[in-house]
């Protein structure tokens, strides 16, 4: 067999494996989308039917009226947008300081940061709730936004690994030209770290967009609810509105899919693990 034929055969194998596995991962998702177009009666047929009969795109309109969909979307977007901004502003700055600047206490502080990653959120959850309660923040979205501006250990860790991989000569050259530490960071290092910053931003975006426990604890007023909390309202004493629930779930998932599809290369490049030992 010549090399070209060998290559072709190899690629056929690869695609077969990939397609078979894809189906397994795709089925539940496709099911969600197809259910979102079904009439509620068809949801409970056995054996399950794949194609909606009739095709009810009105489910989407009904669903957005059943719960205050646009209000919840806006609330979710505000929390997600601002907390992602917070992470992008704070984490690279701190990570850069840990990776490239020499100062006393740096290594101790970094070790503490790694330790903090191991603390389950539940340990800090109750005192934080009591603290935010005293500040009068419970019932507002501030507890879900403000902490991001002070840095998140996992993101700091990831970004530090990335900055470590950038050559020191860049810094030295800029210093000889008389650039200040801030200028070196903001005009040279931050732009170079873009893939890693994007990765961290996407992680935060996803976490905030789909967060459930945080909003469940802190948002008391229904007008301030997020989409995650809103989804629960389709399950009630009168029965579950599966078709509408799936419509909102589909709407909620779409923006992240689009984001991931276009960013996945940068995303993977951003998470480099050379020197994971720290």
């Amino acid at each position: 067999m010549n090399t070209l034929a060998k290559k072709r055969l190899k690629s056929i194998y690869a695609h077969t494996i990939l397609i078979l596995a894809s189906i397994l991962f795709l089925v539940p998702f496709v099911w969600m989308v197809s259910t979102s177009f079904k009439p509620i009666t068809q949801v409970f047929t056995f054996p399950p039917e794949f194609l909606p009969r009739p095709f009810q795109w009105e489910n989407y309109i009904e669903a957005t009226k059943y719960i205050p969909f646009w209000t919840y979307t806006w609330n979710t977007a505000v929390i997600t947008g601002l907390s992602t901004l917070g992470v992008v502003l704070s984490c690279p700055l701190v990570a850069y300081s840990f990776a490239k600047l020499r100062w006393r206490g740096r290594n101790t502080l970094f070790a503490i940061t790694i330790g903090v990653m191991m603390i389950p959120t539940q340990v800090t959850m109750i005192p934080l709730f009591l603290l935010f309660n005293q500040l009068g923040w419970v019932g507002t979205n501030l507890p879900l936004i403000v902490p991001a501006f002070f840095g998140i250990p996992f993101s700091i860790f990831l970004l530090r690994q990335f900055f470590k991989g950038l050559p020191d000569t860049l810094r030295e050259a800029a210093k000889i030209d008389g650039a200040s530490e801030w200028r070196i960071y903001w005009q040279i290092m931050f732009p170079l770290a873009k893939p890693a910053v994007l990765a961290v931003a996407l992680f935060q975006f996803m976490a905030a967009w789909t967060d459930f426990l945080g909003p469940l604890i802190y948002l008391t007023d229904e007008a301030a609810y997020t989409l995650s909390l809103g989804l629960q309202q389709f399950q009630n004493q009168q029965g579950s509105q599966w078709h509408m629930m799936m419509a909102v779930s589909t709407l909620m998932t779409l923006p992240i899919i689009v984001l991931f599809f276009f960013m996945q290369k940068t995303f993977i490049r951003g998470i480099t693990f050379t020197g994971i030992k720290g």
Partner: protein, 308 residues
């Protein structure tokens, strides 16, 4: 003289630069230093204190010593929730590593259309957990669920899944495995870090696919596997959203899906027993720390770093 001057002048400049750098370092790290004190150190310390008090939001804490801990050890639901959580973690974490690594290797092949494949495998991670939970209740429904319908094609009578105390936890593990995309992304990054030279050298020596996998890929991936193992255990012990939404907080059937953090949440925010819940949080912390320590300790035997 000239020699001394040239030797001295730069040294002064260096030390001034050093102190500038030192100041910049502190200032750059300042947000995190504040964050660390405010959002980690302070709550951590107060959580220890609260765990020794009878604390509800309505009345301020009364110091009661070890009473919370003593009560916990006699609390049946506490033990049930620990059992459920460990059951889940012990099965889910190793399975997620095996499937995750295999999947990452498949997604690391060089073929056309990889962006689409990768997005497909990442899809379940992108679906909000609440939606995921609700979708799966229905996929696993014994009467009109898709899973049992598929099993039916093969002549297999599907189990009642979430209706049975025996099958409810395996069902949750199955659902969770479907969402391992995040770990896979990290494995992928690890795979792309492995230098191609190793494979080229092995191919010259005529190594088979399995040999390359077991002698190159897996050993060099161990730092990433280690990272995901630690993160996986931490995550598994904090299992909350899926079982909480699926059971609407009840952990049914018969508390077979009452997980540790669900019970902790109930104590804190349904019964307002903040002190009791704080004691639970600390026990969780100790368990995770102990497990992490074991994993770290064992890592010396099986984690290899490139260049070692």
């Amino acid at each position: 003289m000239a020699k001394l001057e040239t030797g001295k002048a730069p040294r002064v400049r260096v030390s001034r630069k050093r102190s500038n750098e030192s100041l910049a370092g502190w200032l750059f790290a300042l947000p995190w230093i504040i964050g660390l004190l405010l959002f980690f150190a302070y709550p951590l310390i107060s959580s220890i204190y609260y765990s020794f008090t009878d604390y509800s939001i309505l009345q301020s804490g009364k110091f009661i010593g070890l009473a919370n801990y003593r009560e916990l050890f006699q609390d049946e639901l506490f033990w049930i929730s620990i059992y459920n959580t460990i059951y889940f973690a012990v099965l889910f974490v190793p399975l997620s590593i095996i499937f995750g690594v295999a999947l990452a290797m498949v997604l690391n092949m060089r073929v056309r259309g990889m962006a689409v494949y990768r997005t497909i495998f990442f899809l379940p991670t992108l679906v909000p957990h609440v939606a995921l939970a609700i979708l799966w209740i229905w996929l696993l429904n014994p009467q009109f669920g898709l899973v049992n319908a598929v099993l039916d094609w093969f002549g297999i009578q599907g189990p009642p899944w979430l209706g049975s105390t025996f099958w409810s936890k395996p069902a949750l593990i199955l659902m969770s495995l479907w969402g391992i995309g995040q770990a896979v992304i990290i494995y992928l990054a690890g795979l792309s870090d492995i230098s191609q030279e190793y494979y080229e050298a092995a191919e010259v020596d005529g190594a088979s696919f399995l040999q390359k996998t077991f002698y190159i890929t897996l050993p060099l991936l161990t730092p990433v596997i280690f990272f995901n193992l630690v993160m996986g255990f931490i995550g598994a012990f904090q299992q909350f959203t899926l079982p909480y939404t699926m059971t609407q907080g009840s952990g049914s059937p018969a508390d077979s899906l009452t997980f540790y953090v669900m019970y902790l949440y109930d104590n804190a925010f349904s019964y307002f027993r903040m002190g009791y819940a704080s004691a639970m949080a600390w026990i969780l912390f100790v368990i995770i720390m102990a497990l992490t320590a074991i994993v770290f300790w064992s890592s010396k035997r099986w984690v290899h770093y490139q260049g070692d």
